[in-house]
Symmetry: C2
Subunit: 465 residues, 2 copies
C-alpha cells in the first residue's frame, strides 16, 4: 500500500511539518510551470488537513488555483480545515456557484464558524442561497450565543425512535450513512423528540437483529444544554471520557451534538487564553501573522497603562523617603533585585493558584488552606533567598548593615508576594473577575509598594539614619 503514497507519513520518518513543506514547495513549482495534471496527482495521496496547510502556505494568488484542482468531495474536506482568513479570501476568489457548492456541503458547525468571520452582507447572501434544510440548520446554530454548546454543536447526527428493531435501525443507517459527519452513536428519542437514550454502533453490531432499541440502549445519558458554556462542555466530555455529547433545548428535546474533536480545539484555545492573560496579552483566536502591529499593540497597551498607574504608589514611596537614599545611595542598587524577586515569587504562587482555579482542581472553598500553604512556602523561599542575599550583598557592597537590610527585606517581600500571589486570584475569582487577567498588575503593585516601603524603613532603622 505504500507505493502510491509518496507523501504519506507511512513512507518515511519525516515529520508532518516537513511533509507539508515538501507538498507546498512542489505544488508551488508545478503551478508555476502550469503543470496542473502533475499538481493534481501530487495531492491525491495527501490528507485533507495537510493539503489545507500546504495551500495556506502558497502565495495568495495561487491559493484559488490550487484549490480548484481538488475533487468536489475533497474540496469540501480541505475547505473545513483551512484557516478562516483563507476560507474568506477563497470565497471572494471563487465563482458564486463553486462557493455555494462548498458552503452548502460543509457541516453546520464548521459553516457557522466560517460565517462568524465573514461580513454580515456576504453571510445573508449565502444563507439565502443554501438549500432549505442547510439554511435551517445554520440559522439554528447562529441563533445561539458565541461560546455556548448551541453555537459549537453540529446538527449532523442520527436520531431514531426507541421502538425500532436493530435490523430496522441498520436499514435506516444504511440509507442515511453518507449524510452524517461522524456517527459513533445513534440518539434515541421519544415522540416529542426528547432524548431518552443512546446506542453505539458497537451495541448495534453485538445485539440480535430482532431486539428493540429500547432494550439495548443506554438510558443514563450525559448531555448538555444549548446555553452550557463551551468550556464546561469540554470539561464534561473530558471528565466522562466521551466521544460526543448530545445537546438538548430547554424542553429536553435533542437539537445537536458536540464532538470530541471540537473540544480538543477548545481546550487548547482556553489554555492559550489563560497563558496570554498571565502574560498580559489580550487573547484573540486569529492567526499571529494576520494581525498587524497596531492590533497587537492595542491588545497589550491597556495592561501596560494599568501597570504604569500602579507604579505611582512605588514612586511616591521612594520619593517620600528620598532622604534615606540620599544618605546611603548604595541602597538603590538593590531595588531591581527586590522588585524582581518579589514579582517572581508572586508570579509562582499565582500561576499555581490560577491554573488550579481554571482546571477546577483548586476550589474557592480551599482558599484558606491554599493561602496558608503558599505563605509557608513563601517563608521557606524567603529564608533561603534572604540568607543567600545577605552573603551576596555583603560580597558586592562590603557593608554588613546594608547586606542585612537587603536580606531581611527580601524575606519580608517573599512572604508578602506569596500571600498576595495566592490570595488575590481567589479574591478576583470570588468577585467574578478573571484571576488570570487581573492578578499580575495588582500583585506587582502590592509587592512593589509595600516591598520598597519595608526596604527603606528597615534601612532607616538598621543603618540608624
Amino acid at each position: 500500500m505504500a507505493e502510491n503514497q509518496p507523501f504519506s507519513l507511512r513512507q518515511s520518518s519525516i515529520s508532518r511539518q516537513e511533509l507539508v513543506e515538501l507538498v507546498r514547495s512542489q505544488l508551488e513549482a508545478l503551478l508555476q510551470q502550469g503543470n496542473f495534471p502533475g499538481a493534481k496527482a501530487l495531492l491525491v495521496p495527501v490528507q485533507p488537513a495537510d493539503i489545507a496547510e500546504a495551500i495556506e502556505g502558497l502565495p495568495k494568488a495561487m491559493q484559488a488555483i490550487a484549490f480548484r484542482l481538488l475533487s468536489k468531495q475533497e474540496a469540501i474536506e480541505v475547505y473545513e480545515y483551512l484557516d478562516p482568513s483563507v476560507q474568506q479570501s477563497l470565497i471572494t476568489e471563487l465563482r458564486d456557484q463553486e462557493v455555494l457548492d462548498i458552503v452548502d456541503k460543509m457541516s453546520p458547525d464548521d459553516r457557522v464558524r466560517l460565517f462568524d468571520e465573514l461580513p454580515a452582507k456576504v453571510v445573508r447572501q449565502l444563507l439565502q442561497q443554501l438549500s432549505p434544510s442547510e439554511r435551517e440548520a445554520t440559522s439554528l446554530l447562529l441563533g445561539y450565543k458565541v461560546g455556548t454548546a448551541g453555537r459549537i454543536m453540529t446538527t449532523e447526527y442520527l436520531a431514531v425512535k426507541e421502538d425500532l428493531t436493530v435490523s430496522q435501525t441498520i436499514e435506516r443507517v444504511r440509507v442515511l450513512a453518507n449524510t452524517s459527519e461522524i456517527i459513533y452513536y445513534l440518539y434515541v428519542t421519544d415522540r416529542e423528540r426528547r432524548l431518552t437514550g443512546i446506542v453505539s454502533f458497537r451495541d448495534l453490531v453485538i445485539a440480535s437483529s430482532e431486539q428493540r432499541l429500547s432494550e439495548i440502549m443506554t438510558r443514563d445519558v450525559i448531555f448538555v444544554h444549548t446555553d452550557t458554556d463551551q468550556e464546561e462542555v469540554a470539561q464534561i466530555i473530558q471528565r466522562y471520557d466521551l466521544v460526543a455529547v448530545p445537546v438538548v433545548d430547554t424542553e429536553n428535546r435533542l437539537v445537536g451534538i458536540v464532538t470530541v474533536d471540537d473540544v480538543l480545539d477548545i481546550v487548547e484555545q482556553e489554555a492559550t487564553e489563560d497563558i496570554y492573560a498571565l502574560g498580559g496579552v489580550e487573547a484573540g483566536d486569529d492567526n499571529y501573522f494576520q494581525k498587524n502591529i497596531f492590533t497587537a499593540a492595542r491588545k497589550r497597551v491597556v495592561w501596560l497603562f494599568v501597570l504604569l498607574l500602579a507604579n505611582t504608589g512605588t514612586t511616591a514611596v521612594i520619593s517620600a523617603q528620598e532622604n534615606v537614599l540620599e544618605q546611603v545611595v548604595a541602597l538603590a542598587a538593590f531595588i531591581p533585585l527586590l522588585i524582581d524577586a518579589g514579582g517572581n515569587v508572586g508570579a509562582q504562587s499565582s500561576t499555581v493558584v490560577i491554573r488550579g482555579l481554571n482546571l477546577k482542581t483548586v476550589g474557592i472553598k480551599k482558599a484558606l488552606q491554599v493561602i496558608t500553604k503558599e505563605t509557608l512556602t513563601g517563608v521557606l523561599l524567603g529564608v533561603m533567598l534572604g540568607i543567600a542575599v545577605i552573603f551576596w550583598a555583603y560580597f558586592l557592597e562590603g557593608s554588613l548593615p546594608i547586606a542585612l537590610t537587603v536580606g531581611i527585606s527580601l524575606m519580608a517581600i517573599a512572604i508578602l508576594a506569596a500571600v498576595s500571589g495566592s490570595g488575590l486570584p481567589f479574591l478576583f475569582g470570588a468577585l467574578g473577575l478573571d484571576p488570570a487577567l487581573m492578578s499580575a498588575p495588582f500583585i506587582t503593585s502590592v509587592v512593589d509598594v509595600l516591598g520598597v516601603f519595608i526596604y527603606l524603613t528597615l534601612a532607616r532603622t538598621i543603618l540608624q539614619l
Copy 2:
C-alpha cells in the same frame, strides 16, 4: 427515567461540582451512621467519575469503606478515575485478593499509570500475581519510555485479518466485545501482524454481510510509532480529528492504540507545564494538596537563584554609576517603573512567541519576521508609554529633564524588551532548550542590565552631570 436518578445531572440545573459535593457529604453522613445499605443505594445512579471524586473528598479512613460498597464492575471503573495517590492508599487498605481483582481488570494503560506511582516492590509483587495475558500487556507498556506513544497506548483493541467477511467479523466482535475498553474501529492486519487498514463499526453496519474486510477497509491509515512523543501523538489526533490512533513497532506491526480521551489529558497537562514554566514553577502532575511545602519550594527555588545571579549585573551597573544617583537621587524613584515596564513588555512578546512555538503556529523559519513585527510593536508601545510617562513623571517630580530621561529610557527599554522577548525564545528553541522555561530569567537580565545602563547614561547626558 429521571425518577431513580436523584443525583444525575438530568434532574436539575446543579453543577457537577455541587453534585459531587452533595454525594460526598451524604455519603460521609451515611457512613458515619453505619448505614451501609443507604450509602450503597445513594451511589447506584451516580457516574463512576463523580463517585471517584466524592471518594477522594472523604476522610482517608472512610475511603476504603466507601470503595467496598461498590459492585465489582463499578469498583474497577471508579478505581481508574481515582487520583493516583488515592489509588495507592487504597492498595494498602484493601485485602490482597480485592486489590488483585481490581488491578487485573484495569485496562493496561491505566494500570501502567498506577504502576508508575507505586513503589517498585509493590509493582513487582502485583505483576507476578496478574493473569499471564495481563502481565504480558503491562510489561510491554512498561518497557517503553515515559512520555511516548508506547507508554500511553492501550493493548485493548480488536485486530482482524483482511480476508474475513463482514458476517464473520461480526461474529468475532460478539465474542470479544466485553474484553475491549473502547472499540470504535477494528484494525486489519496481515499475517505478520502488520497494520494494513481500519474498519469502523459504522462501515460494518453499512456493508453487506458477504463483503470481505479488504474491500471495505480504509487503507490510508494514520498511525504513530511506539517511540513517538506523546505531544506529537496528541497533535496528530487533533489535526486529523481522530478518535484513536494505532501504534506500530519498528517493523510496522500493530502493538496498541492511543485513544482521544488520553490525548485530552495530555493537551491539558502540556498546557499546565507551559504555564508553570512561564511562571517559573517546575511542573509535576501530582495533586496540589498532596505536595508539602518543601517539595513546592524545591520546585521554585532554583529559578529564583538563577534570577538572583542575573541581578548581579544590574546591581553592578547601578553601583558603577552611583555618582549619578548621588547627585539626583530622585532618579531612583523611577527604577521600579522601568524594571516593571521592561519586564512586562518582554513577557508579552515572549508569551506570544512561546505559545506559538509550542502550538507550532510560529515556526523557527519565521523568526526574523516575528522578531521584526514584535520590535515594531515594541516601538509603538514604547512611544505611547514614553509620552505618557513624560507627563506623568513631570507631574510627580516637577522636573522636565528628569521626566524626559525617564520617558526616553522607557521607549528604549520597551524596544529592547520586545527584541529580547521575541528573539530569546527562538534562540533557546534552536539550541534545543525549552523556551518557556529559559526565557524569563534571561529576558529579565538583559532588560534590567541594559535598561538601567541606558537610564543612568541618559540621565548623565540630559542632566549634564
